[in-house]
Symmetry: C2
Subunit: 587 residues, 2 copies
Amino acid sequence: MPTRLTNFFLRTLREDPSDAEVASHKLLVRAGYIRRQAPGVFAWLPLGLRVKAKIERIVREEMEAAGAHEVHFPALLPKEPYELTNRWVEYGDALFRLQDRKGADYLLAPTHEEAFTLLVKDLYSSYKDLPLTIFQIQDKYRDEARPRAGLLRGREFTMKDAYSFDVTDAGLDASYQAQRDAYERIFTRLGLEYVIVKADAGAMGGSKSEEFLHPTPVGEDTFVRSAGGYAANVEAFETVVPEAVPFDGLPEALVLDSPNTPTIQTLVDLANERYPRPDGRAWTAADTLKNVVLALVHPDGNREVVVVGLPGDREVEMKRVEVAFAPAEVDAAGDADFARHPGLVKGYIGPWSPEGAVLGEESATGIRYLVDPRVADGTEWITGANLPEKHVFGLVAGRDFVADGVIEAADVRPGDPAPDGSGPVELARGMEIGHVFQLGRKYAEVLGLKVLDENGKLATVTMGSYGIGVTRILAIIAEDHHDDKGLVWPASVAPFDVHVVATGKDQAAFDAAEVIVAELEAAGREVLFDDRPKLSPGVKFADAELLGVPKIVIAGRGVADGVVEVWDRATGERTQVPLDGVVAALS
Amino acid sequence: MPTRLTNFFLRTLREDPSDAEVASHKLLVRAGYIRRQAPGVFAWLPLGLRVKAKIERIVREEMEAAGAHEVHFPALLPKEPYELTNRWVEYGDALFRLQDRKGADYLLAPTHEEAFTLLVKDLYSSYKDLPLTIFQIQDKYRDEARPRAGLLRGREFTMKDAYSFDVTDAGLDASYQAQRDAYERIFTRLGLEYVIVKADAGAMGGSKSEEFLHPTPVGEDTFVRSAGGYAANVEAFETVVPEAVPFDGLPEALVLDSPNTPTIQTLVDLANERYPRPDGRAWTAADTLKNVVLALVHPDGNREVVVVGLPGDREVEMKRVEVAFAPAEVDAAGDADFARHPGLVKGYIGPWSPEGAVLGEESATGIRYLVDPRVADGTEWITGANLPEKHVFGLVAGRDFVADGVIEAADVRPGDPAPDGSGPVELARGMEIGHVFQLGRKYAEVLGLKVLDENGKLATVTMGSYGIGVTRILAIIAEDHHDDKGLVWPASVAPFDVHVVATGKDQAAFDAAEVIVAELEAAGREVLFDDRPKLSPGVKFADAELLGVPKIVIAGRGVADGVVEVWDRATGERTQVPLDGVVAALS
């Protein structure tokens, strides 16, 4: 049975919704695919539901081909397991929490690691039961601070989430690879360009993690890639560490006056003016060591002040710092923090060693001092002397101070070398469409998922977690496939295969269209039939362009001459086809 | 690709879950179809998900055949529309409520009348757009006070809910009938016995409402039916009103002493002893008029005392009273209520008229007095005289008192006449599996859903609401189709068509099973293949019986002689079939 526009539930709109910024949001609303219910919460109208079902089918088929079994969990889950893993707290405001009539705490699950872990614990007990990968396609909830861009960042969204369970690390590697391969097949079938980037596991914990990013200017993520094949998201980019330089022959550090040097540039200018290099090369910002004071708020509420040293020509990149310090939250240091640490001389902060102050009268001992990987042993720096209006020149890392640790805090820039030696990197915008994690034993440990191994001993299971954002993918496809007239669906996910339009006042055109629709349906094609009488061809064509079905058949005046037009939505090409040749032309 | 038990996610259990009372709950858990997550909240395991998908497919097909269009709403919805219809309050503790990070109120929708109404208001504006019926298959939430019986009464459950929109009452009748017909087809395809009973619309408001009840001893509802075809749920049963009797010639009422008559029986005994009827017939409880004091708590919090008069041989049935007084809640009258109304003489309460007290020194004016339909004009009663230790004999309804209204408060009993004249009724237990409502204009009125009618005037839309409990139906099918060994699925919803079991130590049996499985799959059958090595035939057969796939093929020792056994799970019949005849035998 074809879907007829005379009685289909559809209303196309001429105006963009006022809250829409990106094309997918505007067009999906205007073309009657989705409708907003609350910020970041949408209802699916018939056309949208059809596209979503097609994406889900592709995902499901590839999951099953990869040996994963489908289950379905409730969105409403009890608090306790999420308390054990600390996600009840760590998720912060992003978790929808509620109580039932008895006052018991529940949440709307953002992902289901805990529930899947407990299910396997509940049912399985032997290594013989493993490996196992189970998945669901399910509606998830995240109370985003700034839901935006329609389906691209919603508060309710459909995800395919899969979880793998293995006894051995090699098993986890294999399960991870199977999901990773399935993701490649899924995105290929969906015609979605993707880049696999090394990712930080973030709040999920675990060891190995890769993101599938779709390069797009509307993307929220910046990622790094080299022509030689390296790719990582900015958080996971690893700075190339310079070779250590021997201390022999390095001159001693000198403390020098440096009044009125509130910025790196003023410091460099002063250095070049008052203290030029003997060899005549100019000092640059890269010769200075900038020390940035940050405050960490640990999960237990404790506030810790840390100092991060990085070359003066680099900025601290908050995304990278946040990942490096997770699960602590990173805050700017305020007056109160400085007051508690009088050893921090604002504008003249320098490094120090665990043993105590290197320079300066007041020791800053007790504060962790961390450095960028470029601050390798033997590198010389102009930096604060921990004394008002004084800097130190020629301070040597590893000789004059020893940091408490190394941290990836600095921004990544085009031209930085890729860590795998594959050349300089460039930066690009992308949107996460999939994520594969090796969770390792973290969840199984906390929730007690153990099985008997081959030797009859209890072994903690190692897990993976694999997610694809179904509704986000739908929006990204719309983002990639549209023009100024409307949506242009690729055939794999189009709501219908063919959109047949009967136009004009001649009943013969409508009758011919009926025949063509019947023939197309008999040939297994899904047909949307614009059988609305009394509408101008212009209105019907505009709707067809807006809806974006890949092939449009127009039965109009040409029917009298035995022809219809076949219109390719993507190319705009229109071809005259004899009435009895439509099925062949579209197969 | 067949599903192989060697790597399927399944664990059958030998023990019933400790919290399970009914067979469907026990068996669905033991056979690995569902798993409890919280009270009334379940996860769906692969087998359960397959059965659920088959039920959903049947429901979807019949909805589409009835011209309904599928949409999908979020479970999470904002409060405001539910406030306008007052359901935010009326649902009481049964509504899951929550707040987002900004403190905005949300709910997990128990049904979606408000959201669908607003969607249509949002998109449609003309009578030409109607009629329209849209539906979804979606997970709903209700915070039941006593979730019970597994899926039969859960707090999260899957429903198909449909809503119709029409301009005219006749249109609504047609849309209602189309859904009602679709429900009949759905239940017939599912092999589910059903009785369509008149129902009260309850909290949904509206005018006409019918329930589809499945007769079952585990049912929560009592319904009434006659051999002549009448059926109603107890709340909707209408008492046959006796003909009014002319007052002419009826004797005057007499107030008589009646000490120590705390119960109807003691009153009847006293009447027969002290005040026998002149014609010698004995007084019975049916001759007395019992006056029951109730307290109503109105939605605005106001507490009202009412008195309900009904024949002394009947009991007040709370379900019926609650429906009659909805949306007020009904409470027992307490000492404080009596204290506020000193005219109510406990044990001797009688009727009165709107004009004031009929009898008694203290007037009970201001209290509504409602009567059972049997208290017709001209009927004579023994009842309280509103005076201590006194009753009145021969008090005539309509002559000596006029009630403020009629109420269906009395219980329904086997043998009561059906209101349509189709004979005496019997009572039976049933479980609601579907519900069709004519909501009328209530929601459209409150939410402002109007369209331009043929005359260009704004007309309020009239609506219907139609629900089927998908997960409940699954449980009811399991309830109906099981034996002491396990589940016995009907073919229409079975998770697989055929369960092939390879047994024994002979590789030939496993090889033969592989061939049969491949042939069955090639013939389009869905196959579950028990290819587990080293398990005893007894364990495999027990699992097959527990899982309940309709046809079981056993490839064992017979393979050497060229035969397998085909076992019908429902009848228990086992037939020997040649190896190359299995597909034919199962088609």
